[in-house]
């Protein structure tokens, strides 16, 4: 089903607000929305909330035969699912342009940057290697799916633990998690993508666009970096023309943001490890708020209110006098409404025969008679 198109006045409003450096939710131009990372019960399951955008990543592994041209390396497989659950614009099954774009960007961000040591995934060279599969599902689309997906994917990979294997001659034994402690993957670095949206042919720039802002943007620049200030991937999309200085500026902003986000991820992983060790319950059900009245309360956002009262006074003073106010209607009898002074009567009758609105005062008696008759009818029915 197609998404409802954006109306012109909404588009103009958004663009004007961006020109005045104001965003819909009160953020600054380089601010991210509030990010929350939670984990599921199994190892390798991770939920990321970026404002209202919600994605889930699940990592799983199985033993397969390796590729012919790479016999001693494991296989990494990435998949992003855009289900209609996230947004009415997504269609079930069809591989839309956005789906291809996100999948390829995630692959390039995580696979080409070699963040995972694939050689350590080899069990028997040429016969058995681990195939690590990362599935990312979009649960709610409120803009900036790429960033949320990349954070979810790398956090899930850091959280995942694969079963232990041992080789005796030709025999390969895979131990279940109860028999032997599972082993985490060896991850070299954590690439995280930061999205910049451009407006008005590249004049204005916003970080972490929400869904409304994404609809009016001209184009998007995605920079994936890790905290060692190494750029893992850059991709520009949309029909915008960039200048070299803009790209350099974006990369500087990205390095700051990536270090903040990496900090957050490490903290979340630490908390989860501590919670599991203490034996506490963890998982998706725990991370959902309980049945309380304040369960769906949104967080406070700081809105700029410095000159709000002065501007409000100015607006009120300069406003035009409203048109002639009409006093509230009076109901003298059931079925008769009176608005205005005596003489300008608007009759509101609920009688079935009388559908005409009477405006002349001389017929007021007739209408009140009708009203009386209708009330008699009502009385007869009850």
């Amino acid at each position: 089903m197609k998404d409802t198109p954006l109306s012109n006045c909404e588009r103009d409003f958004l663009l004007k607000a961006i020109e005045e450096k104001k965003r819909l939710d009160g953020r600054q131009t380089y601010d991210y929305r509030k990010m929350k990372i939670t984990f599921g019960t199994d190892y390798g399951c991770c939920f990321v909330d970026l404002g209202k955008t919600r994605v889930m990543a699940q990592v799983s592994g199985e033993l397969v035969a390796p590729k012919e041209n790479r016999p001693n390396e494991g296989i990494m497989f990435f998949n992003i699912e855009l289900s209609p659950m996230a947004s009415p614009a997504f269609e079930q099954g069809r591989q839309s342009e956005l789906s291809v774009k996100l999948n390829r960007q995630l692959e390039r961000c995580l696979r080409n940057s070699k963040c995972i040591d694939t050689e350590s995934l080899c069990v028997v060279s040429g016969e058995k290697v681990w195939q690590i599969r990362v599935d990312v599902h979009m649960l709610n689309h409120d803009g900036n799916l790429m960033d949320a997906a990349s954070i979810a994917a790398i956090t899930a990979l850091c959280h995942f633990k694969r079963p232990d294997v041992s080789i005796q001659g030709d025999e390969v034994t895979v131990y279940s998690p109860e028999e032997r402690e599972p082993i985490p993957l060896s991850i070299y670095h954590m690439p995280i993508s930061v999205s910049f949206s451009f407006f008005q042919q590249g004049t204005y720039l916003l970080v972490d666009p929400c869904e409304r802002e994404e609809r009016v943007m001209d184009g998007l620049l995605m920079i994936a970096m890790n905290k060692h200030r190494e750029i893992c991937s850059i991709q520009s999309s949309g029909g915008i023309m960039l200048l070299k200085e803009q790209v350099m500026r974006c990369s500087k902003i990205a390095s700051v943001k990536v270090s903040e986000i990496t900090e957050l991820i490490s903290k979340a992983l630490e908390n989860d490890k501590r919670a599991r060790k203490a034996g506490g319950r963890c998982g998706f059900a725990e991370s959902m708020p309980q049945e309380r009245i304040t369960a769906l309360k949104t967080d406070e956002t700081s809105v700029e209110m410095t000159d709000a009262s002065e501007r409000a006074n100015d607006i009120v003073e300069n406003a035009e006098v409203p048109p002639q106010t009409v006093p509230s209607p009076v109901v003298p009898a059931p079925g008769v409404g009176q608005v205005g002074r005596e003489g300008d009567v608007v009759e509101i009758s609920d009688s079935e025969e009388e559908e005409v609105v009477i405006l002349h005062p001389e017929t007021q008696d007739k209408s009140s008679k009708n009203a009386a008759s209708s009330s008699n009818q009502k009385g007869a029915e009850t």
Partner: protein
């Protein structure tokens, strides 16, 4: 790849080029009589064929009609014999779809689509032999084809893939240089204004080197634009000379 020296001590690459040298450029415009515009381009060993149809009425989905501009439809495919191992799925897989989207994005920025409302321009590119720098060769070939079709553009669209090895940017990578974890940056540029139509980079590169790499890419693209200009002028000269009696 261990053992393969991408940049020797004397500054020579695997095929004997210097770091900033482009590969041998051979191009021909107007190769097909049926299409509105066509071009064949060889950059070193990478060979690409580009064909343009349009502007014509929008075919297929009526919903794609834009009331104020032309729609650009790109399709990128590789011939099954273009790579070392036979390609089982020439088009429809994710990489080809992504390339088609990138080409579409590049040309939507460069072609003056406002002159042809409610119409469609088709650009088809096929790689006949792949030896690295596929995207760049496609963009250059498609530029020539669009010019051959007579569709107005803001400027030549020139593309080049550059890599970073041993603190030196290498211009116009070949296949052996692209593999092996070398950071490669593909850039599509409109040379006169220095505007970047598409920027794509893979593999790890430290932030401090980004500026140098982009500078090298833009210089290489300007070099490509000179060659493209020469090709176009030569083609026009050949075409305008009246055929011998």
């Amino acid at each position: 790849m261990a053992g393969l020296e991408l940049l020797s001590d004397q500054g020579y690459r695997l095929d004997g080029r210097k770091a900033t040298e482009l590969r041998k450029f051979q191009a021909r415009m107007g190769v097909f009589a049926q299409a509105d515009g066509s071009a064949y381009l060889e950059q070193g060993n990478t060979k690409a064929l580009a064909v343009v149809y349009g502007p014509h009425e929008v075919r297929g989905a009526r919903s794609r009609i834009r009331h104020d501009r032309a729609v650009i439809n790109c399709q990128y495919s590789m011939a099954t014999f273009s790579t070392a191992e036979r390609k089982r799925r020439p088009h429809g897989d994710r990489k080809s779809t992504e390339m088609s989207l990138h080409l579409k994005q590049t040309f939507e920025a460069a072609v003056m689509t406002q002159l042809y409302p409610r119409s469609q321009i088709d650009i088809y590119v096929k790689i006949l032999q792949s030896d690295g720098g596929n995207y760049s060769v496609c963009v250059n070939a498609a530029t020539l084809a669009v010019i051959d079709a007579g569709i107005p553009m803001r400027d030549y669209v020139c593309a080049c893939t550059v890599g970073f090895v041993d603190e030196t940017p290498l211009a116009d990578l070949c296949y052996a240089e692209e593999g092996g974890g070398v950071s490669s940056l593909a850039l599509a540029l409109l040379p006169r204004g220095g505007q970047i139509a598409l920027l794509q980079m893979d593999a790890r590169l430290h932030q401090d080197h980004l500026e140098a790499l982009m500078e090298a890419a833009m210089t290489a693209c300007k070099g490509v634009s000179k060659v493209l200009d020469q090709v176009v002028r030569q083609h026009l000269q050949e075409a305008s000379v009246p055929s011998a009696e």
